[in-house]
């Protein structure tokens, strides 16, 4: 009993109809516009004018005015009345006879006179196939003959068009198009009177209970079924809707979309056709007739007539919503879709969806609420405004009027239950996120984003940073105090940055790093700031905070410069300016120079020399301070590496500084850079006695040179090994090893001449066989190359002969293909295909043909 769909309003009171005559009862009624006809058991037709008006209290009421009453002259009750308003005729069934009377005068139609006798019941086809507006089609049940007749009633005559036999005696019928829906004595059936096809519906005992056959729409009927059911059946005999559950004693049924109204002994019940649920029950004793006329549901007891006035749809829906019957309200609204103009429906439907959403929101059914908000295209600010303080102060939003819900705000809704408040907030977060990702936030992005920011900050939500780091429309003025309140200083910095106030952002962050403000969002905030500065395009800001950053940690701080994009380093950000600036911070300076020289490979002598000098200083200071050997070693390796790899630094300068130190290896490298290989090798071999390094030296010094250079170096090394002036004989072993390992780098002939006589063949076997194999290989390779070149030459010769073709015969009897004259001399030109033509003809042709005109000769155009 969720809806109040109808109100019972008296229409014709007992006094007006029959006064105090106790035996008189109402038998039938007909309502046509404002005209109400009532047939009574004393064979009288009463004609009333029914005026509708609203009482001062706002209730609907009817006043009936008796226009006429007509006695039909019999002692029988009036059984049925049907108006044919287009014809101004009233069709009357009384005493088994159908007669036609004038609607106004209730007099029998003079010229018509046609009466149909032996009639049990009849019905009007409200959806006739024949489109003639000046006739009415009725279906008539014969009292005895198990037939149904179809008649056409015209203004002045009645004409039978069809007679249909039925398997049993029919007792009630309804018509739609060609379809007769009949209640027979033991079952219901559908009969197509045009084709004669029939369709049994279901069994029913008409003896036991009065059948009901009610057309409810195009080719669909409502039938009383066993067990007090109201069954729906289409003309095809299919049930498309679930049955409604009436009581066993149901007397009559009527339709007022979307409701099925039924009458039984004590009640009027209202079921929805949409969900088949019982919606309303009205107590009504002694009900006798229930019928609908053009949407108006009229109810009669034996003594008085009432109208069931439907309440406006929106009112019903609002009542349902007020009772929190969300689904029913929506079903009702959607069911009415067809009956309401589209744009009006959409507005209404949207509002109902929104209201439904808020009801479910209030019940914390967030999933359903969200769905309804989405479908109802809710202005998301309606929802945000429920949460205190979330909408920015600058927002122009005002809540919709009349209000969509009954809540003042979230606290009102939650009644102080903090857990509820939290759940609502979480819901809003997820909802706003979805709104942001669709275009639902159109026009109020600032409000949405600011609200979301506040929620995130309050809930300590990790997405706060994502929001601020991505494209957003958070209002700074409104968000800043909120973030401060929740100690989200880092986030506030991000917001400042997003709004172009990098200085303010950096100030905040510096304060956090220095511990003046408490915000543990990022433990690596210092690194973050450095990173930020390295990308910051505002040069003055970078300079402003560079001191702070590098002072804190030179190694990390220098990243401000080293991570900076190369094309950003202009103006006051040139490498020169930076190196100048970094003089104060030696560690940072080295790192920066390393970045320039090693990473970016800037080819500038200044930086290379600077770095080399710094490296050297470090090595020297380390070795003097007696630092751990490991550390000295590493520093030296760095220096050596730079000295080897780079060739831009000023060698002489470094050599000068290194001269008096123990750094022999470095000195060798420097000598090498000056092409003073003999000195270099001498240091390596005789001072350091490091033969592998000497070999390596030869290899990398000649790495990018030709074979001759390498040979020269190796011979030099061999020479140093074999140098008899230097004391210490163990160089011989090194020399042998060198020869045996690098046989390909020596000119064997030259070496043999150099070697002392006393060396055994065995000793030099690997070298010799290597050298021999090398020369043999070279020889054979050369032979193969020679052979291949010859073959190619031969092939080309063959091709040339082939393409030149056979001889071409020219004689005086042979004509030129172009001018058709004979040849007079032996000179000729061969066209492709070996056709001989005159030389002048060929020249002529070449001149005329634009394709073949030589492009080098553009003057030929004219």
């Amino acid at each position: 009993m969720s809806v109040k769909a109808f109100e019972l309003v008296p229409a014709v009171e007992r006094e007006l109809l029959m006064g105090d005559k106790a035996r008189i009862t109402i038998e039938c009624i007909e309502c046509c516009g404002k005209h109400l006809y009532v047939g009574t058991n004393d064979c009288i037709i009463h004609h009333f004018l029914l005026e509708e008006h609203t009482t001062p209290k706002g209730k609907m009421a009817f006043s009936a005015q008796r226009l006429l009453q007509k006695y039909l002259g019999l002692k029988k009750p009036v059984n049925e009345l049907k108006a044919a308003s287009a014809l101004e005729r009233l069709i009357v069934l009384c005493d088994g006879t159908i007669s036609v009377v004038d609607m106004v005068t209730l007099e029998a139609v003079p010229s018509g006179g046609a009466r149909i006798r032996g009639v049990l019941s009849f019905c009007v086809n409200e959806n006739p196939v024949n489109g003639d507006p000046f006739c009415v089609e009725i279906g008539v049940i014969s009292a005895k003959r198990r037939t149904v007749h179809i008649y056409m009633v015209y203004e002045d005559r009645v004409q039978m068009v069809k007679e249909v036999a039925t398997p049993e005696q029919p007792c009630a019928l309804s018509l739609d198009g060609y379809f007769l829906c009949l209640a027979l004595s033991t079952q219901y059936m559908i009969l197509n009177y045009s084709t004669g096809a029939s369709q049994d519906l279901f069994p029913y005992d008409s003896e036991e209970k009065k059948p009901i056959v009610k057309r409810i729409g195009r080719e669909e009927f409502l039938l009383a079924a066993p067990g007090g059911l109201g069954m729906f059946a289409t003309a095809e005999g299919v049930s498309q809707r679930a049955p409604v559950n009436w009581s066993e004693s149901v007397i009559g049924a009527a339709i007022s979309f979307p409701y099925v109204v039924a009458l039984d002994e004590g009640f009027v019940t209202v079921h929805s056709m949409l969900d088949q649920q019982l919606k309303q029950t009205l107590s009504f004793r002694d009900g006798h007739i229930l019928q609908d006329f053009e949407g108006k549901v009229v109810l009669a007891s034996r003594k008085a007539v009432y109208v069931l006035v439907p309440l406006p749809l929106e009112r019903q829906i609002q009542d349902l919503l007020a009772g929190h019957h969300v689904e029913e309200a929506l079903t009702l609204a959607e069911g009415a879709r067809r009956n309401i103009p589209k744009d009006k429906f959409q507005v209404m439907h949207r509002r109902i969806l929104q209201q439904a959403g808020f009801i479910q929101f209030g019940q914390l059914q967030f999933l359903e609420a969200k769905e309804h908000f989405r479908k109802g295209q809710l202005d998301v600010r309606e929802l945000i405004s429920l949460y205190p303080l979330l909408l920015p102060a600058s927002s122009t939003f005002t809540r919709c009027h009349p209000p969509l819900h009954e809540f003042a705000d979230l606290n009102h809704l939650a009644q102080g239950d903090q857990e509820k408040v939290q759940r609502c907030k979480l819901f809003l977060i997820s909802y706003l996120r979805e709104v942001r990702s669709t275009d639902g936030a159109n026009g109020c992005r600032e409000d949405v984003d600011t609200a979301l920011l506040k929620l995130y900050a309050e809930a300590n939500h990790e997405s706060l940073l994502d929001l601020l780091a991505s494209d957003n429309a958070c209002l700074l003025a409104d968000s800043a105090p909120w973030l401060e309140k929740h100690h989200k200083y880092f986030a506030l910095g991000l917001l400042y940055h997003y709004n172009g106030q990098d200085d303010a952002a950096l100030q905040l962050w510096v304060q956090i790093v220095d511990g003046d403000l408490q915000d543990s969002t990022r433990s690596d905030l210092y690194e973050y700031v450095v990173d930020f500065l390295s990308f910051c395009s505002k040069v003055d800001l970078v300079w402003k905070y560079a001191d702070w950053a590098i002072h804190k940690d030179q190694k990390v701080g220098v990243q401000i410069f080293t991570r900076r994009a190369v094309n950003d380093q202009t103006g006051t950000m040139t490498p020169d300016a930076i190196t100048q600036y970094l003089q104060k911070y030696p560690q940072a300076l080295v790192l920066y120079l390393e970045h320039l020289v090693l990473d970016r490979r800037i080819q500038k002598e200044k930086f290379h020399t600077h770095l080399a000098v710094l490296y050297l200083d470090r090595v020297l200071s380390l070795s003097q301070s007696e630092a751990p050997a490991q550390q000295v070693m590493e520093a030296r390796e760095q220096l050596q590496c730079l000295l080897r790899e780079s060739s831009l630094y000023r060698v002489q300068l470094l050599l000068g500084r290194i001269q008096d130190t123990e750094l022999l290896r470095e000195r060798a490298t420097l000598h090498g850079k000056l092409e003073e290989h003999e000195q270099a090798l001498h240091i390596l071999v005789h001072q350091l006695k490091d033969f592998p390094s000497a070999e390596e030296y030869c290899l990398w010094m000649s790495a990018s040179q030709d074979l001759g250079y390498r040979q020269r170096l190796f011979h030099l090394l061999l020479g140093v090994y074999l140098d008899p002036d230097v004391p210490g004989g163990d160089c011989t072993v090194a020399a042998v090893d060198l020869l045996n390992r690098h046989s390909e780098a020596f000119d064997a002939e030259h070496v043999l001449r150099l070697l002392p006589e006393g060396w055994s063949l065995q000793l030099l076997c690997p070298f010799l066989s290597g050298a021999l194999r090398g020369t043999m290989h070279a020889r054979r390779t050369a032979q193969v190359a020679l052979g291949l070149a010859r073959a190619e030459n031969l092939q080309l010769k063959h091709d040339r002969l082939k393409w030149r073709g056979g001889p071409i015969f020219v004689s005086e009897k042979k004509g030129c293909q172009l001018c058709h004259n004979t040849f007079t001399e032996a000179d000729c030109v061969c066209l492709p295909g070996g056709v001989p033509v005159h030389t002048h003809c060929a020249a002529h042709r070449a001149k005329d043909s634009p394709r073949k005109r030589p492009s080098t000769n553009p003057s030929n155009h004219t």
């Binding site: 029913y204 079924a225 066993p226 067990g227 069954m231 059946a233 049930s239 088949q276 689904e327 879709r337």
Partner: protein
Amino acid sequence: MPEYAKMKKPDVKLVILGDMNVGKTSLLHRYMERKFKETISTVGGAFFLKQWGPYNISIWDTAGREQFHGLGSMYCRGAAAIILTYDVTNWQSLVELEDRFLSLTDTANSDCIFAVVGNKADLTDPEAGLKEEEEEEEGEEEGGEGEKAERPARPPPTPPSPVARRKVHREDAIALYGRILRYKMLDERASLPAEKMCFETSAKTGYNVDLLFETLFDMVLPSILKKRSGNDSPTVDLEECRGAKRTKAGCCS
């Protein structure tokens, strides 16, 4: 009813038949609302729309009571699949399928599919007694409480130890399926095999319920397609018309 699809036109119809108190409504409830709850004796019939891919399938739940028997053939008219339901603890419920309900299916589509389903398997089969999904149970008793009064022969409420009174075996159901095919004068070899069309389910635990409905949905899809293509719809298809004309012209010339 969370369906907004109420107004949509169903593409195909599926009907559940069976004696009262075998659990037809509970089966449908379990499938549609994922829970087992107390149902009252169905009056007349009820239907649900199920969205299955792009199609709307209407599922009719019928009343098992004798009183509403006459309505059955109307529900079955035009049905593409019929689920004949019995109670595995009640031999008579299987007998009734053949005696009373089979004749109702005369109005169904000629290519209608039949499934024979033994419900309440949780009472006899320990495996079916296990919950398929962990959901809150609302009704402690088996379904069809409201019908209790009308049927004195109803077994007592669920005993703690099941595996008790199995009265109908799977072989009986398979045999019934064979007889249904014979009644429908269908070739057993050309029809769907009995092994595939006989189910044992439990609306209480959810055992086999999804399998039952989804197997049937997949099987009726061809019937939808046939209905769609075979419909001589009142809409004139201009493309089709043009095609037909062309071939005709080609034929005559």
